[in-house]
Each structure stands twice: as structure tokens, then as C-alpha cells.
């Protein structure tokens, strides 16, 4: 998996950095190479900086993500302060976010068995008629739920509003709605 001129590829560097199982280049070989190749060392520095950038952005609540309960549980175990809302199929909830919350987690229950691809369509009452479609969102079919983590930094600044979400199973014949949800948001009092 070496790149041009005997350099390590980005994938090889990433596998090395992340302790991936069965990396294309062994750890010892990568250690030796990096001890003499500044070009690969700088490429690794760039990857590490990029990873740190992703971590910082997520920790600051500046990016949204669709993720899994396992990931959220690990965050909770690290002391991340969570505010969680669980919605049944076609459910709604009154919600808010506190100034010291680190992460806002929405559990959208849905019949996901057999679903190959899932899209989510969102609409804010602040922008009536404007829909945003999130295509091919990741999900664990066994879990029967979709975990959505909005940008909490932005949510903390929002006035009272309603967010409506529809989950669509995308099939060869088109899209089939499998659940709709409403979040009645109010700013944190005080």
C-alpha cells in the first residue's frame, strides 16, 4: 500500500495512527520508515491535525452527526453531558437545551428491518416550506432507531421553533415514509 516513490499512502498512515487491525504496513515497518522520511512524517502530522480538527469541532458542538448508541454511551462514559430525547414513531416532544449541555441526542425509533438506504428530511418552522434532505444516513438496522446529534452550539442560540423530521426508506421504486417526528423547541429559561 505504499504510495509514490516508496512513501506510505494516506491509508497506510491512517491505519498506523488508528491502530487498525491487519494494516497494510506493519507498525514496526512504518516506525522505521517514519524515522527517516520527513515527507511521510509531515503527511502524518497533517492527518493528526485533521483528526484533532474533527475532534475539536465535534466537541464544540459545531457539527451534526447521525451516529449510534454505542458511540453516545462511550461519550457519556467520558463525562460528556448529554441531553437526550427519545421519540416513538410519529411522536413529538417538548425540548430544550441547557447552557452547560455538551451534546443533544435525539433517538428516533423507526421500523428499520429490511431498509437498505435511509434518508431524513427536515423542516424548521423558522424557514417554512424549506426542506433539507440528509441522504443515506447511517443506522444500525438491529437497533430500530436513528440517533441524530444536531449542532448543539447552533441550537443553543435558537428561538422557540418546531423542527419536523421525516425518515424515508429509499427503495428501487422510490421513497417510503417510515416515521415522522416533531421537536417543539424552547430556549432555556433565564
Amino acid at each position: 500500500m505504499s504510495g509514490a516513490a516508496g512513501h506510505l499512502s494516506v491509508d497506510a498512515l491512517l491505519e498506523y495512527w488508528l491502530h487498525d487491525d491487519a494494516p497494510a504496513v506493519s507498525v514496526d515497518a512504518a516506525d522505521e520508515h517514519l524515522m527517516q522520511c520527513d515527507a511521510c512524517g509531515q503527511a502524518l502530522d497533517e492527518l493528526i491535525a485533521l483528526g484533532e480538527g474533527v475532534r475539536t469541532a465535534f466537541r464544540a458542538g459545531a457539527v451534526s452527526a447521525v451516529t449510534t448508541s454505542g458511540f453516545v454511551q462511550r461519550l457519556a462514559g467520558q463525562g460528556v453531558r448529554l441531553r437526550e430525547y427519545r421519540l416513538p414513531v410519529n411522536g413529538s416532544v417538548n425540548c430544550t437545551v441547557a447552557p452547560d449541555d455538551d451534546l443533544l441526542v435525539s433517538y428516533l425509533e423507526a421500523p428499520l428491518a429490511g431498509v437498505q438506504r435511509l434518508d431524513a428530511v427536515t423542516e424548521w418552522s423558522l424557514e417554512p416550506g424549506v426542506e433539507h434532505r440528509l441522504e443515506d444516513v447511517p443506522f444500525d438496522p438491529q437497533a430500530g432507531e436513528v440517533l441524530y446529534l444536531p449542532k448543539i452550539a447552533a441550537v443553543k442560540k435558537l428561538p422557540e421553533n418546531i423542527l419536523r423530521v421525516r425518515l424515508l426508506a429509499v427503495e428501487s421504486g422510490g421513497a417510503r415514509e417510515i416515521g415522522r417526528y416533531a421537536f417543539f423547541h424552547r430556549p432555556w429559561p433565564g
Binding site: 487498525d20 516506525d31 512524517g41 483528526g51 469541532a57 449510534t68
Partner: protein
């Protein structure tokens, strides 16, 4: 993959190490600073990968460089041109020692660090965090999720795949694609600014 000792005598590190070894102890300040500039970032990288802590990596860098220069000054390296091999070996032993709770590192630092000529180092690049967040938001959901899960607590592809119901190969493909787009986007922002 080439071995560390390949053409050792012809490498810049090998030449500088020979100059230090040939000089009277402490009389090769420029060469010592040059060796530090060449090797310290590599040792730090090794430390980051194996110790996962920036402070521990900085300590390792100091220790290994102090030890290497002390050995060169004292004539302790029979083949100074093989300094890369010596440095890598010292990194490995020091990390093993650290894991066993050894105190030798602190003793060496106390003994030699005062007269070690330090050079300015270019440490890891700093990115515009707002730009990174903006670029992340532009990624397709699946790529963003894989990158967040990968980097937030440094999960290997197998762990990410297990949680998302994806194969290891699939995670690596999505990760590769996402990183490529993210790098391009961040780089484009850097060029503009």
C-alpha cells in the same frame, strides 16, 4: 520498505552524527542543534503514535535526543552514521521503560538537558477550526459520521464498522473518501486566506 541502516553514511543525519562524534565533547554545538532539528520531530511523532499523549511525546523527544547526543559526545556509538537505528531503538526501549515505570529518563534529563542545544522545531500544523467544522458539515452524512466516530476517540475501522453494521473494507473506503474531501476543502480555505 527500506531498512533504517540503508546507506546510513550518506544520510544528513549520519554525516552530522559523525561530526559530533569526531569533535571534543561539547564543541560541536551547531552539529548538535542540526541533529536535534532533523530528528526531534520524528521522535515526537513516534511518541504521539505510541504514547497517545502530547506531553509524554514531548518528554520522549527530549529524553531520546539528550541520550543520543550524550552518547555521541562520549563516543558511545561505535558507528555514529547509524544514528537513526540508535534513535529508533532508544525510542522503543524508552516507551517500554515508561510502561514499566522506569525513572532513568528523569535522571538523564536532569544530568544533560541543561547543556543540550535546542533548535526551533516546526511542530504539527494548526488548522482553522471554523473551516474544519464548515468542511465537515459539507460532507455526506455517512462520511461525516465515519470521520467523527473515527477521530473523536480514535476508533479503528473494525470498531466503527461493528457499530454501523458496515464491513471493515467499507469503513476504510468511506473514511478514505471523507478524509480526501475534508483535506481538499480545508486546503482550499487555507489557500484563500
Amino acid at each position: 520498505m527500506e531498512a533504517v541502516d540503508a546507506s546510513a553514511a550518506e544520510t544528513p543525519e549520519g554525516r552530522v552524527a559523525r561530526r559530533i562524534a569526531a569533535a571534543a565533547p561539547g564543541e560541536a554545538g551547531e552539529a548538535e542543534a542540526e541533529l536535534y532539528r532533523l530528528l526531534a520531530p520524528r521522535v515526537r511523532r513516534y511518541g504521539l503514535r505510541h504514547l497517545r499523549d502530547a506531553h509524554a511525546a514531548a518528554d520522549l523527544m527530549q529524553h531520546v535526543m539528550v541520550h543520543t547526543i550524550a552518547q555521541l559526545r562520549a563516543g558511545g556509538l561505535r558507528e555514529p552514521e547509524r544514528v537513526l537505528s540508535f534513535v529508533l531503538g532508544t525510542c522503543r526501549l524508552t516507551v517500554m521503560d515508561q510502561r514499566r515505570g522506569e525513572r532513568r529518563r528523569a535522571e538523564l534529563l536532569e544530568r544533560y538537558a541543561g547543556d543540550l542545544p535546542m533548535a526551533d522545531l516546526q511542530i504539527a500544523p494548526r488548522l482553522d477550526q471554523a473551516r474544519v467544522a464548515d468542511c465537515l458539515e459539507r460532507l455526506p452524512e455517512r462520511e461525516r459520521t465515519v470521520l467523527v466516530m473515527t477521530f473523536y476517540d480514535e476508533q479503528p475501522s473494525e470498531a466503527v464498522g461493528t457499530q454501523l453494521g458496515l464491513s471493515v473494507g467499507n469503513v476504510r473506503v468511506i473514511r478514505h473518501r471523507g478524509i480526501d474531501k475534508l483535506r481538499r476543502c480545508v486546503d482550499a480555505g487555507r489557500r484563500l486566506s
